[in-house]
Symmetry: D2
Subunit: 347 residues, 4 copies
């Protein structure tokens, strides 16, 4: 059994890692840290994890593999020594997602604590970056919104069927904001309400742009640096878990002309993937709640020749902890589905 | 007092009309119909309307003004004789929204029951069509989605600051689906879930396109029939009331360059309007719940030179019953705000 | 117009007072205070109150009538000088509900700031205490739970049909916890969950006991101090507004034997009351949302000869701000229904 | 592997059985039936079960073990031939819960279809009836409310610390009403509302009474047929999953005097039970969502000498499908926890 540790187990992503690892056949959660709750048992903080007999420490004990669910900046600082010690790490924070330390500083308002590690980190969207993940000891787990948007758009972008004008309209449950309290997340404020936020530029935007740009097809004679032109609008909706992203793009003339053709392209692209299922009717977030599945529905608006792709994930699983375990599995040479096979909890 | 009748009071729009009319200083609800509940009192069907002493009839009694909350097709049939008898009517159904009977037949799958009245009907988005509403005896109340989208886009379109490529991504509470039961609206299915629907073409799309096309600026030398190219995606989200529409458009170069400029243009456009408020931060549907207000937030995405406009309404008030009463007020020469001044119910 | 002030307008009860006063025909909100938001406009803090043109002050300006929505202890301190100056006050805090300063200190953990005023305060459950309210200049607005429980039990207790063994099981929406943030009220924690709290003794218990004891019938030869034996369990349920209380009592043999007889007694008791309606089927909180109504459903469990009474209110209206305005109306000799007649917002 | 079948897989209990069996190490779902959906694949009806490759049949195929999730009456009819053929069955319907066919007819309004099997059925609340379940081939799975109430009250009743006067106030999520549509379960009606129902006598009442009476301690000289006097009030609250029951009883003088003593008695009673955890603070349904756990919190109201016990379960798991699998495990000599060990999904 691989001895696994979770840094900052006291947030939602950390707790979700612990929940999912409980069923993992090859890994055992052996150490958890979290400063605010250090000294308490995991069961005291999270009654649903009462089956664990673990005490939360100030720091991680000795482990074979570590997840960091620390906030950005704190995470890079804590991850760096582990990486230097040869402990493979999946970092759920934003710290190793952007490859450019200056871009990181611009969006996160703080200097990167370990810029020398940036080049060693793989972007952990396993389906799109499997080989890099497998061979890396440091994996940056994607943001929840990028996860949903990139899985929705990758087949179209890599297939060369859409132009660079992209609009991503995402709807997220409130757990995406984390376990910290705030008036906007008060039940009486968030319930029976929907709102947009981050219109001036959400931190997941540069991550989405970076990854889309990296996958953009280079054609002979084309400018090498075609940049996708992305507008990304996240919305807060009154539910606990789930992200639905609706992605709009203009079809390149002469490529795909119908929903059926789009479905074929998407099915081919994700053939054999255990955690992405291309569906032929609009999916609902409830269909993936609690599971590591992503459902993707591509369609064509015949009146406008636009591609519209809808994807759904559970933001805490495929958008965080489940994706992280999938990455761990890939890094350790385990079956990618280990510990992640339970169906969604519906209704 | 104007004696007012509601046809098909037993749906959500009908009940909401009755709720709002209770506080109207110049109008009195004097007759209600609804076949399935004929013979029952209004209080039996709707305990919150127990202050009324009205029995639901098969047909309306004698009234000075009528609202139809009947389903489409049935509505045109019931409205036609009233119009012929000179009773002013606001029709909340879709029957008189599309000006072209063939377009109506295409989208609604049924021949129009009173095509001869189409030319006499005014499209009842009062803020955009006040004079026509005032002088008409038959007003087609807008669909809830068009209401939210048109108020969001009108200043930009009429101001000539956006190109014809438009994307409207709308999020609606479940009451928009009406009071009829269905598995998709079962609490256990709709709660904790979000989904897109109508991707193949929602019936509110032609209404949106018709009205946007009508307001499109005609420039000298321009093709007269520039058509907006609209993709409209409605989403069902787990709340009872409210619609938030996020609208995306490309700015015409050299017009508006910043959020501040967009705000100025929008404020000027809606100056003096009692029910549209231009706000300088993203609004939430809860801020208008139960009220006839529409909040509009225009902003510019500086990275992409796109205009993004967010609007929120209560789908049953500004998106249905409140807008209908506003139209009645305009038609009868009453202050437009009569009966509609109560603030939103928050939280 | 009566010039009205609200102290601590920034909580949910304060904001609800402002909402309801907007429609009041005889009173005008002319001054609002709230230390944390002093200097801001009311519209900045509460977008749904944008129709007001008021700035929040550190202290109230000159008013003819004052509401205090301050927390306990702070309220008594702020109310005392107003009372001394002859300004009539309704205090929404708990400070003047318990008649005994020692009992107050025991439950609230603080000495009472104005014990000399306790004997001058009327308990403001208008339906049960109308004359005292009318003749008082200081009214203690009931707690939301006591409001729902006392209206449910008063006819039975005063009618002498139940013994002293009483169980009150209440279910409240999250707005009852106020606008302050806390992990228990985080959407992701409160949503999709129900829990009991206050089992060791909730602060509304002594208030309930005090009022029930005061209304207990004294029979010849009976011990004068028969005390009701009350267990009260509040529950937090995933909704914003509303309280439903289910009250259980043992019927005195030979009094009421059926649900019909209980209904008759209750109907007689509340005859003519504008804000309490006795209903003959189980009510739902949604039927009173946003309104000042209380629905009461008494029934008899024939297998056990127990009386079971279910009541529903909107905790922010009949359980706070609406009840407070009803009290103001009674104190000022206005019609009790002034400003409170709008129907519930349903669905 | 045990080949398992589910009759009527298309309801929520049936679907939940399929979800949980997916992770079962010793059992394999091999046949599913459901008339309305016969011919469709399981994945078509339930996208979250897409990992199964099963087609829904009119009838079950050959299986080693069967679950019936049919409605009452239909279930007894379908179960009888299986029992006669020697196939062990857990019946999730109500058909074999009441031991008395006349009592069954009285409450369910239909003659029992297989009264000769009633004496062979064990009541499947494993924790309280383990030996009978183990040795039976036909197990009646408890109703969801009785499950929560009996686990809350059994230690007190069997321990002889409470008198026969019992009040059970239960709060259930909407999935308890099943997957059939109905206005009361429409999102717009059920959301933001709580209501009581079944006040005239819910069908789970006789089941609760029967099981409490059976466990009632018989003391020397006592009347042999002391009957618990139970009032049971279910409430519908706006969440999908979960039941919280608050149970009230009068303590027998001289037995338990404090919450600590109650906790000790309860802990001793449930010692070693994998699915019942006695907790020392009030639990929330979210803490067991998706899992087979029942949390029980006993406390003493010192002012009234009443025992108050709060229990929480997931109505679809411990209240239906999980309990059924636990029973299957016991019947087949498997570890009772097989397939049921995953933690709750929180938040």
């Amino acid at each position: 059994m691989v001895r696994v540790g979770i840094m900052n187990v006291t947030g939602y992503a950390g707790a979700e890692l612990a929940r999912l690892l409980y069923a993992h056949p090859e890994a055992q959660l052996s150490s958890v840290s979290g400063r605010s709750a250090a000294g308490k048992t995991l069961a005291e903080v999270f009654p649903h994890l009462a089956s664990y007999d673990l005490t939360i420490g100030e720091e991680l004990g000795e482990v074979d593999f570590a997840f960091s669910a620390l906030p950005h900046a704190a995470s890079a600082e804590a991850v760096a020594p582990l990486v230097r010690d040869g402990v493979p790490v999946v970092d759920i924070s934003a710290d190793f997602r952007l490859r450019d330390a200056q871009e990181y500083a611009r969006w996160y308002g703080v200097e990167h604590a370990a810029p020398e590690l940036l080049s060693r980190a793989a972007y952990g969207l396993t389906e799109l970056n499997r080989e890099a993940v497998r061979s890396s000891r440091l994996v940056a787990n994607p943001g929840c919104y990028p996860e949903s948007a990139l899985l929705a758009l990758a087949p179209a972008v890599k297939g060369g069927i859409v132009g660079p004008e992209l609009i991503i309209d995402s709807k997220s449950g409130v757990s995406g904001a984390g376990r910290a309290v705030g008036l906007a997340y008060h039940f009486a404020e968030a319930n029976e309400s929907v709102s947009a936020y981050g219109l001036g530029g959400h931190r997941h935007l540069p991550e989405i742009v970076q990854e889309l740009a990296a996958m953009w097809p280079r054609r002979v004679g084309e400018e090498p640096d075609t940049q996708p032109i992305v507008t990304f609008t996240p919305h807060l909706i009154p539910m606990t878990r789930g992200i639905l992203s609706t992605c709009y793009a203009t079809l390149v003339a002469g490529t795909v002309r119908s929903g059926e053709e789009a479905l074929d392209l998407y099915r081919e692209f994700y053939k054999g993937e255990p955690f992405v299922r291309v569906v032929d009717s609009p999916p609902a977030t409830k269909q993936v709640s609690g599971s590591n599945m992503c459902l993707v529905y591509p369609t064509v608006d015949p009146r406008t020749e636009r591609l519209v792709v809808v994807s759904v994930i559970d933001n805490l699983v495929k958008g965080a902890a489940g994706q992280a375990i999938q990455n761990m599995n890939a890094m350790l040479g385990l079956p990618e589905t280990a510990g992640l096979e339970t169906p969604a909890v519906y209704p």
